[in-house]
């Protein structure tokens, strides 16, 4: 089994791309792969707990928690989070905060990288 790292970047809020990343992570883990996820830019919106689950909005907190419970490593860009006013105490349980070097380091050992950096 391999290791897949997903880098999830800006302009994903309100789009379905963040949903895509979580569904892909779920499918990867179901097949026995190790999955890491890096959230940067606007994707750090996941780093605020207590998001209300309206039917009109994507809501990935529950799935994220499940995947963390099953061993997914998920880390959020600390500076991107702070710039948006998401502090340490806002971070959902099991999510790590780190500098960008965490993501860079992951690219060394991971078998595959899917970097969702586009618009």
């Amino acid at each position: 089994m391999g290791e897949l790292t997903l880098g999830v970047f800006p302009s994903l809020v309100g789009s379905m791309s963040l949903d895509f990343a979580f569904k892909l992570a779920e499918a990867g883990m179901a097949k026995g792969h190790k999955v890491n996820m890096w959230l940067s830019g606007n994707a750090v919106m996941m780093a605020k707990k207590g998001q209300k689950a309206f039917k009109d909005y994507s809501h990935n907190e529950k799935k994220m928690k499940e995947l963390i419970g099953k061993g997914m490593e998920i880390t959020v860009c600390e500076a991107c989070a702070e710039a948006r006013g998401y502090h340490k105490e806002d971070t959902p349980e099991g999510m790590k905060r780190a500098s960008m070097d965490w993501y860079l380091a992951k690219t060394v050992k991971t078998d595959r990288l899917l970097h969702i950096g586009g618009e």
């Binding site: 800006p10 960008m100 070097d101 993501y103 990288l113 970097h115 950096g117 586009g118």
Partner: protein, 137 residues
């Protein structure tokens, strides 16, 4: 794993999104990634501006003066200062009518020795093939 090469490809103009800036700041973070890595491992990034992405490399950006935000120019210069290769695609410069004297070619004011490299698209394609991972912004 030894040295792992990465190519950061910036293909869109600056400021409309923070992605071009995040490409540079992430690439720069390779310098401090050792703390998470085994001995002997390293990440070797190159940042290339291609397509409309070459507009990121236009010099004299006054984002700080006007909006109080670090310019993409400043991040490009920081990259040169830590000897990280910064490439700009020649064909796209020509297409958009950009001359070399309009582009950020060095960061001598910051004490950098490395200069911007003007490359052809064929060089970029070759580098895409050479690296382990591609990161498009």
């Amino acid at each position: 794993m030894g040295a792992v090469k990465l190519l950061f490809v910036v293909q869109r103009p600056p400021y409309k999104s923070e992605n071009p800036r995040l490409a540079l700041t992430h690439a720069i973070a390779s310098q401090t990634a050792e703390i998470y890595m085994d001995d002997g491992d390293s990440v070797v990034p190159t940042v290339v501006f291609v397509g409309d992405g070459v507009l990121n490399a236009v010099k004299n950006q006054n984002a700080m003066k006007v909006y109080g935000v670090t310019s993409t120019e400043n991040h490009i210069k920081s990259s040169l200062m830590i000897d990280m290769p910064v490439w700009v695609c020649k064909e796209d410069m020509a297409r958009l009518g950009l001359k070399e004297d309009q582009i950020i070619t060095d960061a001598e004011d910051m004490g950098a020795e490395l200069k911007t490299t003007f490359v052809s698209y064929a060089d970029i394609q070759k580098e895409m093939e050479a690296v382990k991972h591609l990161l498009f912004f």
